[in-house]
């Protein structure tokens, strides 16, 4: 994988010179780490395009306001053309020792969401999307590690998959993060812990689209996405939604497995419908 180290170094130096190590520490380093992580987690068939996307994303994703023409004599990095939406980061929640919700019949959320992710991936790839998963097996990356994978991509949306402990069996809900005020620091960088804020409107749009499709397939599901303070979404710098299926309390796992094709189709169709409206926000939380 090739990274535009010169650009990153310039960005890093600018951040250091303006705001000290704090600013660069909370965003630049995790992004660099994420780029490496995403490279290692992708299948061979995806490596080259994803790496290229990540490469173009790094300088572009950091500033949220137009930067001054020069700073301390350093020329600005050349403008990077923005690509449209072409990557979907799928996050099967939990994993490893974190089993997630557990049903009485031995159903484990961490296992089922991995199977769901496989099916969603298949449908998305059939529609021409490139899919990056935050975990391929029974690992348990941290919230920040998962977000970092998404934040290293350019032109990506993030979908985290969950199975609930509660709710009407056979229904599915989409959540977007609770509204937060958009904040940037003096350098125009978004704090890592609020990376989702500029994408809230886009997340809402994607969430409503997917939720509408899920409501058509699963009776009793809400018609629009709901808001919740979902930890995973807060640090994700991309349109991001959480899809939660009800529930682990079903009598047999087959009841959940039967939902997988419908969920996969709703997510893929929703993302495809969302594609034309995908624009990387450059200022203040509006797409």
């Amino acid at each position: 994988m090739l990274l535009d180290v010169a650009n990153i170094a310039r960005m890093n130096q600018r951040a250091w010179s303006r705001n000290g190590c704090r600013v660069s520490a909370f965003f630049l380093l995790p992004v660099l780490g994420a780029a490496a992580l995403s490279y290692s987690s992708q299948s061979p068939s995806q490596t080259s395009p994803a790496a290229a996307a990540a490469q173009s994303a790094l300088p572009q994703a950091l500033p949220t306001t137009p930067a001054p023409a020069t700073l301390q004599g350093l020329p600005l990095p050349p403008a990077v053309p923005r690509a449209g939406l072409n990557i979907v980061v799928l996050d099967p929640a939990h994993g490893g020792t974190d089993l997630g919700a557990r049903g009485t019949g031995g159903i484990r959320e961490s296992e089922i969401v991995l199977d769901f992710a496989t099916q969603v991936r298949r449908v998305l790839e059939a529609q021409g999307f490139q899919v990056v998963q935050t975990r391929q097996g029974n690992e348990d990356p941290s919230f920040d590690d998962r977000s970092a994978i998404a934040n290293a991509q350019s032109g990506a949306v993030f979908v985290t998959l969950h199975i609930a402990s509660t709710g009407l069996p056979g229904t599915a809900r989409v959540y977007v993060n609770s509204d937060l005020p958009v904040t940037t620091n003096a350098g125009g960088l978004i704090p890592w812990e609020r990376a989702q804020t500029p994408f809230q409107a886009l997340s809402r749009k994607l969430g409503d689209l997917v939720q509408g499709l899920l409501a058509q397939r699963f009776k009793g599901s809400p018609n629009t996405a709901q808001t919740a303070a979902v930890r995973q979404l807060r640090t994700t710098a991309a349109p991001a939604i959480a899809v939660e299926i009800s529930s682990v309390v079903v009598e047999s796992r087959a009841d959940l497995d039967r939902m997988a094709p419908g969920v996969a189709d709703a997510i893929a169709t929703g993302v495809a419908t969302f594609r034309p409206s995908y624009v990387v926000p450059t200022t203040g939380g509006t797409p």
Binding site: A93, H94, D98, G100, A101, R102, E109, F143, H162, I163, A164, S165, T166, G167, L168, R173, Y175, S178, D179, L180, P181, T183, E193, R194, G220, P222, Q226, T227, A228, A229, V230, R231, Q232, R234, A242, E244, S246, S247
Partner: protein
């Protein structure tokens, strides 16, 4: 002479080993029992110190609104009106309504919070930020999931909003500590909006605040927005709280 002494010493050592073989397991059992007893006593003492604030029958009875699950499995809350002699003091009043909420409705199926969860401490800062410290059962026994965790937090924020006007935000601690999530999903690192009217009047610069996109309704509550608290405003440790926190 020397041989006799050696025999005595060896004999004594053998006796000591035999006694040790029998006595050590007994001693270990006793130590375990004592440790367990001490742990129970500490837990009991903590509960006694933080037991529910007694409701003074002399206080005027007011209609308190408590929010429990609708029972439809859709993650919605409905309000129940309960007549309680509530204190005028905001902290005492908050403890009273939260303890009543924790005690649960008549129908246990409508609970939003685990039956074992205990409110250990409650503080109210001058800026309207309330800090509610719950026992570990809140984190370990709340069903894992976005819907169930949101329902638990919604019931707390909306009950406070309906009964204690001074509370504007809620910070939830577990056993005196800030935790990342309630039960794996819902973010507890920030504060939840409680009273949006008060927030719109005096937004904090350090921790700017926006109102939720839709006002909460009894039938379909909007999730309270979570905000990152200003570090100075939300102590994760406070003198006098359990565990010395």
């Amino acid at each position: 002479m020397t041989t006799r002494w050696i025999k005595w010493v060896v004999g004594l050592l053998c006796v000591a080993v035999i006694v040790g073989v029998f006595y050590l397991p007994i001693l270990r059992r006793r130590l375990r029992a004592a440790a367990k007893l001490q742990q129970q006593t500490a837990e009991q003492a903590r509960r006694e110190l933080t037991q529910a604030v007694p409701i003074n029958p002399g206080e005027p009875r007011v209609k308190a609104k408590l929010f429990w699950a609708s029972g439809n499995g859709d993650g919605a809350l409905v309000d129940s009106t309960v007549e309680l002699p509530l204190s005028d003091d905001s902290v005492l009043r908050s403890k009273q309504v939260l303890n009543t909420l924790l005690a649960g409705p008549v129908d246990a199926e409508l609970r939003t919070l685990p039956p074992d969860a205990v409110l250990l401490a409650f503080y109210l800062l001058p800026n309207g930020t309330a800090i509610a410290d719950f026992s570990e059962a809140l984190a370990t026994a709340t069903p894992s999931g976005i819907q169930s965790e949101q329902l638990a937090v919604d019931s707390l924020t909306r009950t406070l909003e309906a009964n204690v006007p001074r509370v504007q935000r809620l910070k939830i601690l577990i056993h005196g500590q800030e935790v990342e999530t309630l039960a794996g999903h819902l973010d507890l690192t920030g504060t939840f909006l409680v009273n949006t009217k008060g927030l719109l009047v005096a937004p904090s610069v350090a921790a700017p605040v926006v109102a939720p996109t839709a006002p909460p309704s009894a039938e379909k509550p909007a999730a309270p927005a979570i905000e990152k608290a200003a570090p100075a405003a939300v102590p994760t440790a406070k003198p006098g709280s359990p565990k010395g926190a």
